[in-house]
Symmetry: C2
Subunit: 177 residues, 2 copies
């Protein structure tokens, strides 16, 4: 039982709240570090600050940050995956500061995000682009009830491994409303 | 051999070219008529002209029209499905004027689009949102070499049938470059 205990302790010091304008610099530092690796996210590893924040803070998205004693250690966005007749399905994207990985921050944000999506009335959540070599993400999303519903052959150009497959993952939700 | 002959004759009178500003009204009429049905496209059936054309003529997309003797009878858009490390996969959307359906215009545009995508260097094409009840589209895309690579449970709110599944379809391309 040691590990869950440890996880709980870590989580108690983690606060997750909506992002504010003042968080932009911290979010950009995380975004830049995560995409620079070219191994998990589709964004150009050399994306500009303006483009990155323009995407993350897009008006269609709700943006959140995870704060530990060290400051902002993670961020996620939540939005409808499609407009109109597909807007009952949510989509989300998650980034954890490389220096803070392995501490359950992604899981805490994932759980927070699922609750938020249900509170907002979404009926399901879909991830459009989970890189097949990203085992940490795959394990986490499966743990949180997602399953692979699609496989896109060679759809990601991995910085080290070349063209690799991408998964589409999906999970039903129980909207609160 | 009668049907292919007939199809060939019809296609000879069909011209497909890049859309121009002057085509906007004709495109909007098609867009409005297609989405009003709420049975194939995800857009709000009551979408405004501004929003519809803003989407269709988005700068990230190349927009084409199909012209018969009657004028513009179809339109399609071609774009990268993802930015950066996913930008080698194309995405496209097609609309045929309801009054011109069943005459091979969708097929002609589909074939044109595949050639354009290869010419532009794309390595694959992905459709993110093929409504499972849209048998005409499913048959056409299978005919043109696409296969279903994903299934999204209940991801479309069909005007008549309620929540129905959606397919993700994919096809490799042989880029010219």
């Amino acid at each position: 039982m040691k590990q869950p205990q440890a996880r709980k302790t870590r989580r108690q010091s983690l606060q997750i709240r909506r992002a504010r304008k003042i968080d932009r610099d911290a979010i950009w530092q995380i975004f830049r570090a995560v995409v620079a690796r070219g191994d998990t996210y589709v964004f150009d590893p050399h994306i500009s600050r303006t483009r990155a924040l323009g995407y993350w803070f897009n008006q269609r998205r709700r943006c959140y940050v995870a704060l530990s004693d060290e400051g902002i250690v993670g961020t996620y966005v939540l939005n409808a995956n499609q407009p109109g007749l597909g807007s009952h399905v949510a989509n989300a994207g998650f980034m954890v500061a490389p220096s803070a990985q392995g501490r359950g921050i992604g899981r805490a944000m994932g759980e927070h995000c699922l609750r938020e999506a249900e509170r907002l009335g979404f009926r399901a959540m879909q991830f459009n682009f989970v890189v097949s070599t990203n085992e940490t993400a795959l394990r986490l999303w499966k743990d949180l009830g997602f399953r692979i519903v699609g496989r896109l052959p060679g759809a990601f150009h991995h910085a080290d491994e070349g063209f690799v497959d991408v998964y589409v993952m999906y999970r039903r939700l129980t909207p609160v409303v």
